[in-house]
């Protein structure tokens, strides 16, 4: 076995190994779990960077492949690999987990217990990263479900006052969707002329038109349900505000930063290429739901009084833009979607870090109780919050801009197959509503900043001696701040990775 073949396996399972090691830390040395988690997540992050550096940009396509039989009787393979579409999300997951490990030096929510918390976090990392590199449907499903249990415990044990309700809601929603997804995967297995769970083989069959239109409709509907709940798309989003709000800071960061992307990534990797005809039929529906999510998310945000809940609802809108990009079925749209995912991961991850730190200082998340003037009480924190918020609302020059503008641009000229089907007008109408959504997004973020950052701080806070950003927080946040600023002018850092592979997928499988 060469490094080429083993790189992904080692990188993905290293965190799981770390989690196992942490469980053996005796309780009286519980604090040392933090160092172990930090070292493991740093090592894994470095390995992921090594994969990024070792990826042959000239050759493109899927590299670092390993395909060995796992359960022969059922034709299940351990097939992993990575391409330009997976790479940015893969590396981002390692970056965020590493930063969460750093942040946990600063603060872990009640009841503390870093040992259990960090072991779960590392387990989560294996599941998240595994989803982005699995090229076998069952393997993908295993990683997909692996994420569920640690996140359930993270929300349920370390969460806010309403944690149990949120945890169960999160678990049951996702489980419900994934049962349908699994059924669709099995249906694909049985419907394929040559039975296989291999994603690449199924993509080829999909492109060759091996699946009947009716089958595609049903299978797409079931897979759609699984992914749409995870994204989450309106109207399947109701678990998200509860889960994000109640989750501990690290949980929220990973939930918003990576977990949501597993759904959108699934659409790009599995649903669209394997079921191309159904994708064309469903695209208008997805587009409409996406725009509803954008508007609905923004309106909900305007009504929020809880800072963290506001950020949670903003995810609904941002993921709406991502789904709009996917619905266009064009290379530009898909690129916009992936860029949007990365940008949302960086920015919203950062916002949840901030929300956590603000809660920890003010002991409240109610915007009214914070009462404004943060720029005066904690100038650095205020500036960082301001910067991230304007990045999130899509200010040109920062990371949030490209995902939104490119998605709208792509929706103006959707794929030829959609135009042929007579959906051009619909998509152009969607562009108008999407654009209105960007204005509303700007509106609620500015309104939030006005209420939190501006004005005179209430007396109780100006005299409370609130501590500004601590060195550990700087350490955890600086990479995200840099990326937020950098990805604005240097969008090619992501699009350069994704464009060729996206174009290949789109031209091969969707003819667009």
């Amino acid at each position: 076995m060469t490094w080429e073949e083993l790189a992904i396996t080692v990188t993905v399972f290293l965190p799981l190994l770390g989690a196992a090691i942490i469980t053996f830390v005796p309780r009286r040395h519980e604090e040392s779990a933090k160092s172990i988690a930090l070292i493991v997540s740093l090592a894994a992050f470095v390995l992921s960077l090594a994969i990024l550096a070792g990826y042959d940009w000239g050759a493109r396509g899927i590299q670092f492949q390993l395909n060995v039989s796992w359960i022969e009787a059922a034709g299940i393979n351990y097939h992993v690999g990575i391409d330009g579409i997976s790479l940015p999300l893969f590396v981002l997951s390692y970056l965020l987990t590493f930063l969460c490990a750093v942040y946990s030096y600063h603060h872990i929510e009640e009841p503390g217990r870093p040992k259990a918390f960090l072991a779960l976090m590392l387990m989560l990392q294996t599941g998240m990263a595994g989803c982005f590199i699995a090229f076998d449907l069952i393997l993908f499903f295993v990683f997909w479900e692996l994420v569920l249990v640690p996140m359930y415990f993270m929300i349920g044990i370390w969460g806010g006052p309403n944690r149990q309700y949120a945890a169960v809601k999160f678990f049951l929603y996702t489980l419900f969707g994934s049962v349908f997804m699994l059924v669709a995967f099995l249906a694909l297995y049985f419907a394929a002329p040559e039975r296989t769970f291999d994603i690449l083989a199924l993509q080829q069959m999909g492109a060759a038109g091996e699946f009947t239109a009716n089958f595609q409709r049903l299978a797409f509907a079931a897979i759609f349900l699984g992914f749409a709940i995870k994204v989450p798309m309106w109207p399947f989003h109701t678990w998200l505000p509860d889960a994000h709000t109640e989750a501990p800071t690290v949980g929220s960061v990973l939930l918003a930063g990576i977990l949501l992307k597993m759904g959108t990534y699934g659409f790009i990797r599995i649903a669209l290429p394997i079921l191309p005809d159904a994708a064309v039929e469903y695209a208008p529906i997805i587009g409409v739901l996406a725009v509803i999510a954008i508007i609905y998310g923004a309106l909900c945000c305007l009504a929020q009084t809880d800072l963290k809940r506001l950020i949670a609802f903003s995810s609904v809108g941002h993921m709406g833009f991502v789904m709009l990009g996917i619905a266009t079925l064009t290379p530009i749209g898909i690129n916009a979607a992936i860029f949007g995912m990365v940008a949302h991961g960086v920015i919203t991850g950062m916002l949840f870090f901030l929300a956590g730190s603000i809660k920890e200082r003010y002991h409240t998340r109610e915007i009214a109780e914070i009462g404004g003037g943060m720029v005066k009480t904690m100038p650095k924190m205020g500036v960082v919050l301001g910067l991230t918020a304007v990045a999130s609302l899509g200010l040109p020059g920062l990371a949030g801009f490209w995902g939104e503008i490119l998605a709208l641009l792509a929706a103006f000229n959707p794929a030829p197959s959609l135009v042929d089907a007579g959906y051009l007008t619909l998509f152009r109408v969607l562009v108008v509503f999407g654009a209105v959504g960007t204005v509303l997004t700007a509106g609620y973020f500015l309104y939030m900043m006005q209420r939190v950052l501006m004005g005179e701080p209430p007396e109780r806070w100006s005299e409370a001696g609130l501590r500004d950003i601590s060195p550990i927080e700087w350490g955890a946040w600086m990479p995200l701040i840099v990326l937020t600023v950098l990805l604005g002018p240097a969008a090619f850092l992501v699009t350069g990775m994704t464009t060729p592979d996206v174009t290949t997928i789109m031209t091969t499988f969707l003819g667009g």
């Binding site: 692996l146 349920g156 044990i157 944690r163 099995l186």
Partner: protein, 498 residues
């Protein structure tokens, strides 16, 4: 094919070595216990353990000896082939864990230790005979040797009314079903003129389907239905599970049930295979009823052992599903169904045994056996609670734990059948898996997310701790090797061996 032995008195002692070593250990226990002072009596467990380990050693030697072939004794009524070895390995593995579970429990129980270990090993002798039995008479003997010690063990907690009630119910329903079984067997013998399983299959092939014959076949199947606690023969299970000593419950729900399935496999897939179109739909319907009823009733239980009892009824339902898709003459499909049952049995044995091991540990501190006793267990004993969560999630079928793969095989086989009934069964498995998650998850939730009643950690002790840890490891790690079980003993070896 083994060479045909004309003389039924010829005994191949090597083929019987695992059974013999367990018998020797069982008798030695009875004898040695008499001479031990009261506080040392618990040490007889070590004799049992030694007997089981020696048996495992013989098993490995036998496996090396037969390779792909087989050995026989008593004129082919007793056959050792790969299928039999796989089951014997499973039973002996379970025996090791039951002994580990029993040690602390019965040494604190203080009485009947020698009797208990003797009865336990005697029951295991019956189990070891079961997968080798290729004759109705031998099957009956094996079944009785498994059942009768079970009746007594279920009633060992003499001071507890519930234990008395459970044992009596177990006994009456057990005897009734055995009577039905024997009645069926005698009619089958009358029709076919043989008690040899393969001979019955040959005679039934193309035979006229007299209603009485079909009824007799169903009688035999029903007799095993009691052993696997399938609806509507499940009534004994919850009361008996609740009243018995916890290690006995573990034994009943895992080992005894697996023995029932071994017998059912041999009867259905060998002797009655030509009549599969008659009994398969019946077993399919029983499967659906069993899992649905088991899961729905389990949701309402507040007693941990009753919850596990109904959960184990539901799992019997899953394991009956592959029986429902068998078609006469369709070898490929039947082989898939057969492997699915085998894989599920092994997975079920590991995870359910684990759950009972954890329950045994908790019962030491909380004899009330309520689900509420598990409140906040994660704060008191994180290791134990973690292992229990693994077992429960695996029973519920959360990937990548072993329970999921077991269900997966059943699902694939049912869809593979391609009939509407097969698809219906597959759908029922999926729906039931989701229902089951509710009550497994409820226990997991209360263990980790509720405030503990006391902060006193629960210490399982060395033997029990080893059992819990080892089983948790298997539950997590076995998915690497599921393929091995599915392929190591498929239908063809059983038919060839018979």
């Amino acid at each position: 094919m083994p060479e045909l032995l004309s003389d039924p008195t010829t005994v191949d002692l090597f083929a019987l070595a695992p059974e013999l070593s367990v018998i020797v250990a069982a008798l030695a226990i009875l004898l040695v216990e008499l001479f031990l002072p009261a506080e040392r009596k618990r040490l007889v467990m070590l004799i049992g353990m030694a007997g089981v380990l020696v048996a495992i050693g013989f098993l490995i030697a036998l496996a090396a000896d037969i390779g792909g072939g087989s050995r026989a004794a008593f004129g082919n009524a007793f056959v050792v082939d790969q299928y039999a070895l796989l089951f014997k390995g499973l039973f002996l593995g379970v025996a090791v864990f039951v002994l580990l579970l029993s040690y602390r429990y019965f040494s604190e129980f203080r009485t009947y230790q020698g009797e208990y270990y003797f009865l336990l090993l005697a029951a295991f002798v019956g189990m070891l005979l079961m997968p080798s039995a290729r004759d109705l008479v031998m099957l009956f003997i094996a079944l009785e040797i498994v059942s009768i010690p079970g009746f007594v063990m279920a009633g060992l907690r003499k001071f507890d009314l519930r234990s008395n009630e459970g044992a009596l119910k177990f006994f009456i329903i057990g005897v009734l079903s055995v009577a039905v079984l024997l009645f069926g067997m005698s009619i089958v013998y009358g029709f076919t003129g043989t008690t040899d399983l393969v001979g019955i299959a040959v005679a039934l092939e193309g035979a006229e389907r007299a209603p009485l014959l079909l009824a007799a076949v169903l009688f035999v199947i029903v007799g095993f239905g009691f052993k696997v606690s399938a609806v509507p023969f499940h009534f004994w299970a919850p009361d008996t599970y609740q009243g018995s000593p916890v290690p006995v419950t573990a034994f009943l729900s895992v080992a005894s049930k697996a023995a029932g399935f071994a017998g059912l496999l041999q009867v259905c897939f060998v002797a009655f295979a030509p009549l599969a179109d008659v009994w398969a739909p019946v077993l399919g319907v029983i499967a659906v009823l069993t899992m649905t009823l088991g899961n729905l009733v389990a949701m309402q239980q507040t007693n941990m052992l009753r919850l596990l009892a109904y959960s184990s009824i539901a799992h019997a339902g899953y394991m009956l599903v592959p029986f429902g898709i068998v078609q006469p003459g369709n070898a490929a499909l039947n082989s898939d169904a057969f492997s699915a049952v085998l894989v599920y049995l092994i997975a079920y044995a590991v995870m359910n045994m684990g759950a009972f091991a954890a329950v045994t540990a908790v019962t030491r501190a909380h004899p009330g056996r309520q689900v509420a006793d598990y409140t906040g267990l994660g704060h008191r004993s994180p290791g134990l609670a973690g292992a229990m969560s693994v077992f429960l999630l695996s029973l519920g079928g959360v990937p990548p734990l072993v329970g999921l793969w077991a269900k997966f095989y059943i699902f694939i086989a049912s869809v593979e059948a391609g009939t509407p009934f097969g698809l219906f069964l597959a759908a029922m498995v999926v729906i039931n898996s989701v229902i089951a998650m509710f009550y497994y998850l409820a226990v997991v939730r209360t263990m980790w997310m509720d405030e503990p009643l006391s902060v006193e950690p629960i210490r399982p002790g060395f033997a029990l701790g080893t059992a819990v840890g080892g089983l948790a490891f298997l539950t997590v790690g076995l998915f690497v090797a599921v393929d091995l079980f599915a392929t190591s003993a498929n239908l063809s070896t059983l038919v060839a061996g018979g």
